[in-house]
Amino acid sequence: MTQSSPLRQLVPAPAVPLDRAQLAEQLLRLGRAPCAPPFAPEVVAFFGELSRRLFQSEAARQWPEIQALAFFLRKASLQRLNSEFRAKPGARAPRGTVFHVPPGNVETLFCFGFALAALAGNRNLVRVSPRRSAVSDVLVSVLNDALAADGSGLRERTLMLEYEHQPELTLALSQACDVRVLWGGDETVRTLRQVSLPPRAIELTFPDRLSYAAFATERLLSATDAELANVAEQLFNDAYWFDQRACSSPRALLLCGTPEGVDPAAERLLAALASVTARRAYRTSTDAALAKRLYAERLAVGGEVTRVFWPSNEVVGLSVQSLAALRHHEHCGRGLFLLVRLRQLAELADLVHPSDQTLAHYGFGAAELIELAGSVQGRGLDRIVPLGKALELSHLWDGYDLLESFTRVRDVRTDEPARAELAASARS
């Protein structure tokens, strides 16, 4: 069964269908384009320009998720990335061609991964799901406009294809790459990993991850209305983008403090959050509201949920006996939070699981957080960040330093003993 499902090239423009022969041709062409040195000035300039376009585009402006990407790609941010990169020991070169399979739930990630790999000097092959959304459409459009105006050679090093998953396509693209990046959770990783890679290629995988936010209840109770409104805004940004379905979206709220303070703190926080959702016109559909209700009922019937808070359809809180409920039941998202009570933040160390990714925190001192990070020791929680920063993009992700992963370390020495390293000129 060949030629069964359509394949379209999306980037660079124009969007054209490709048959298998044309695909093979495109892959060959891509492979022949030379890599750039890491953080080549023209490439850095391109992304700065892309950032500018994303900030200016009217279509892009309505999406805070896209604005977050634009923020990450702005000149000052890239300069900082560049400095950090240069400070790494050893000479660095791009790996070659990076094949990205981004997730369906966080539509900006395909651009994020592409940008980091391109800044590292690589060629990029990106799969885009045919299940398109407004966000990915806007990104593709702005990206194509920026590439059309670009003279850095990046256009020749970029190919983005839209297709339904098919083993033979995955294989063809995998055989052409030096790095394969699989986002999309356990299912995607399990399925696509079975497709073989060339021996020289490495693989980065992003399996199912869970995230949550922790609050010092004393601070929630003593906060002024204005302070609480700000906390609720930060929580909104962390939780409601991507309908709470990103792996960094907090799905549980850990309330740390005395037992008597927990419920009042929860009520206060959830009510404030409901105000924010109303103000930002975030609406939960009827079927989502019914789904949340059924989810709550199922957990209540089993004794796992002891109390339901329902200030509005958009904000539902379920008091649970333990964090375990988060792991066992598929969370329906769109504004549903499991409420876990702890006496102290330190108790979290015993509850952490390797699939836990991000802890967003509010109201704790630095010492407490550092102690927690120390006692967790890589058993999970690769990201411990302030509330409001859960979805912030970073090259440090899920235990990877992506700029490291996208480059090779080289050991190049001359006879001169004084020279410890040479600047790497990478022509792969």
Partner: protein, 366 residues
Amino acid sequence: MSLSELLERGPYGVPQAEKERLLLARLNQLTARHRAGCPEYARLLEAFRDAGPIAGSAAEATSLSGVPHVSVGLFKSHRLTSVPEADVFKTMTSSGTTGQAVSQIVLDRDTAQLQTLALAKIMTHLLGPQRLPMLIVDTPGVLRDRKRFSARGAGILGMMSFGRQHCYLLDDEMKLDRQRLTAFLERYGAEPFLIFGFTFMVWQYLYGGVEDGELNLSQATLVHSGGWKKLIEQAVDRQEYRRRLATRLGIRRVHDFYGMVEQVGSVHLEGEDGFLYPPSFADVIVRDIATWREAKLGEPGVIQVLSALPESYPGHAILTEDLGVVHGIDDSSCGRFGKRFSVIGRVPRAELRGCSDTHAQSRASA
């Protein structure tokens, strides 16, 4: 006792205010009974106690909309019973399309008898006290495979006790068996008879199997049930359906009904005016989709159904996944007391963006 009063007064003979009083007393009794007999239900009530209008009140309700209600989907994941296993007479299940979870409804003898009695009240009110000769727009095979006892089979089995000389109109390939139909009409067509079938099947296979004026089914009372989705897709609405059945087949008594396996016996039958009516021992509440309070007349919302019958499982107040609207109360043009409502259809499914799309095809919409 309020239940027997409701059953004796005739399915549409109780004005709403009085009905609510009687029904409320009975429903409060049932809530207490299920709370005592079903630990899972008790836990649910406890967890939802302060949740507001979405839950109803944990203490005794003072109005029908305050009676605590559960989601219809809960019966698909949990087998809830308020009686000891020894008293379980039958567990009804209902499967829709393959792959869907199955509801489990636990009946003791009393509840099963109440359901049969209740349905009989409704149907004899419509059809008269005698069993009528009955056409079934389905295949004999629908009842054969008891393991996969479908919603279709359950509906037919329930209705069969109101008919006699049951005649299945479709062969195993779902084609109309014209010989059987003409033979039936020759014997019984001159006197009142009953036709039962699923809404779409009646259209597709009976209506679709004959020509205009070919056959005379004017003595028929058609009772049908089931979704309108496929018909709406063909631009056939309720009025069009009736009009065409009348034109082609001479059928003038057409009655849709709204019911579910989670509340068997509490069937909401269509009146001559085209609206649905709850019987005296059941009711509907339409809830506003934002506030979950009872919606105003004429305003659409999610349908919640109430029934005085379920004694063995906590199904006396159920929130469905259907949208509907109540048009009026005690103002029927066909002499029925109670609420006058219609069903709009299933709550639309918003597309959920998952992180993976490695399935070959996304789930087809139901």
